[in-house]
């Protein structure tokens, strides 16, 4: 390719490729670290070498069978480095072992619980963005204006509200007192067919989705607001206004687009927050998803499931942050230089 424009595009592409290579290379040690942390978590478990050597049971009762299973599964009689290599090999083959509870593969139990959690978190994420972005743009468009002030107070209150308390209050008000929404569950026992069945399911989704949404809503809306507020005073927005664009167009097309980047990069990190919320929300609303599976497995000391879910949670988050960073680099050339 000859010519100034071609060379310019070339250097831009090279910067992008350099960024991608560097970003992916940095993710490899992180991935390794995630596997190491889960491996260490496994050693906290009673019946692990730590407690076997000390002879202590750390106050928890574990059946001999479960302990034998742990030993067999993880080769606990081997030296630590050898065990770690074995563990790496199993993880690389996506072999997460069998559940202590029903002897079924961990991956199968996770696959069963996945749809319920995806529905819950997917809806929560969509609702978060659908509400947070307009609120953030409106508030950031006129910093210290009346809307900014009221929304700031409300978002702050939401931000400080413990999710289990919100869930209990909503249940008390909307389910017990008013009888509008079901207390918990995925659907009614005698779930009707067709459209009525769909409304029944949506009614069951309403409270858990609300509980999962409001926290991240506060977080994302504040992020959008500060981004828009900062971009608003910059030259390109003034220039857009000077070109005759309406305030609305200037805000959405120019200010918001610049505020979108931090939101995109943070979307990956919203994921662990949503999963954390899922543990509490799914427990309160008896929702058969990953959060409840994790909590039940903690209580029943089903270590393979606990470790498998932790590993997947960590790896998926890493993949999501990586994807978000790469997406951001494609959109914004400035990022390729800095990172």
């Amino acid at each position: 390719m000859v010519g100034a424009a071609g060379r310019l595009r070339d250097s831009g592409e090279r910067a992008l490729i350099r960024f991608l290579v560097r970003r992916i290379a940095l993710a490899i040690p992180t991935l390794f670290g995630i596997v190491v942390v889960v491996f260490l978590l496994m050693h906290l478990a009673p019946g692990s070498p730590a407690s076997a050597i000390g002879g202590a049971e750390s106050g928890r009762r574990v059946s001999a069978a479960a302990r034998a299973e742990m030993r067999r599964l993880y080769g606990l009689d081997r030296p630590l480095p050898e065990r770690f290599v074995q563990w790496l090999g199993r993880v690389a083959r996506f072999d997460l072992g069998e559940s202590f509870v029903d002897r079924r593969p961990v991956s199968e139990r996770i696959r069963e619980a996945l749809p319920a959690t995806l529905a819950l978190n997917g809806l929560a994420l969509l609702l978060t963005l659908a509400l947070a972005i307009p609120i953030g743009v409106a508030a950031g468009g006129r910093p210290e204006g009346p809307f900014d002030r009221t929304s700031a107070v409300m978002l702050f209150a939401l931000y400080s509200t413990p999710v289990f308390w919100a869930a209990l209050l909503l249940q008390t008000l909307l389910s017990v007192k008013l009888g509008w929404l079901p207390l918990y569950g995925v659907s009614s026992d005698a779930a009707p067919e067709g459209l009525a069945g769909l409304t029944d399911r949506l009614a069951h989704l309403a409270l858990p989705v609300t509980c999962l949404t409001y926290g991240s809503l506060a977080f994302v809306a504040r992020l959008v607001r500060s981004g828009v507020a900062e971009a608003r005073s910059q030259d390109f927005v003034t220039a857009a206004l000077a070109r005759g664009l309406s305030r609305r167009q200037a805000l959405w097309r120019h200010a918001f687009r610049n505020a979108l980047l931090p939101v995109v990069t943070l979307l990956g990190l919203l994921l662990p927050g949503l999963l954390s919320g899922s543990v509490i929300v799914e427990r309160i609303f008896a929702w058969p998803g990953l959060g409840r599976l994790y909590f039940d497995s903690i209580l029943s000391r089903d270590y393979p499931v606990v470790l498998g879910l932790s590993l997947i949670g960590g790896v998926v988050t890493l993949a999501a942050t990586l994807a978000a960073d790469i997406a951001a680099a494609f959109v914004d050339p400035r990022l390729r230089e800095s990172a």
Partner: protein, 270 residues
Amino acid sequence: MIRRLPASGRVALVVVALLWLVAAVSPLFAGRAAEIRLDERLQAPSRLHPFGTDDLGRDLAARVVVATPISLAIGLVAAAVSLVVGFGIGGAAGYFGGVTDLLLSRLVEVVLCFPVLFLLLALAAFLPPSPATVVLAIGLTTWPSDARYARAEILKAKSLDYARAAKAAGAGPLRILLRHLLPNALAPLLVSAAFGVSWAILAEAALSFLGVGLPPPAASWGGILSSAPAYIEEAWWLALFPGLALFATVSAYNLLAESLRRATTEAGGK
């Protein structure tokens, strides 16, 4: 520092002080909080029992008061653990830079990738149940945000003249960090601490609500709330009042942190 706080920050400071005052006098209510009267179980709020009674007929108001020092202290100590670990790791990453920074930043990233509650639950449930376990579990899972903050602050401060002067005068890295950089990073440290306390209080409440927090009979607000779902259809007060105390505390600390941040960034001169 306090003089620069906006009005909302002063209100928050007063609320926090009041909460600690309640905590200080709470032993006076210990007897009343522990008194079981099965004939008075699940009574709605009245003049005798302003917050009602719980499933064992104990006075809920007294229980909420008695739980105050537990929640506050666990929050404070856990936040301190998180702050020490986070500022140690983040400070070292920012100060030494290079490979140290690269490795420590990966460590931060690793912990951030896990859902906090996953790690918290595993640590709290697998280690022997005790207040120390709860504090450690919270401290060891929440330090990455402190570390990121500390790293950014130290990076900013280390290129300033006074730090370079100290280095030129022959001061070692530890001396520069502790004698020169740390005192100047005190304001951001306070902001981080205030956010950390509110976080830790919430985390402890979540653990106790889920039943893997403090072992009984010690009951924090989260612990009292854990009995609320079973009586959701008959006793709304079981959910309302302990949660209200929790909400007030968390908002007060958050508000304090927010105003501290605003006071320090504005003072930093933009």
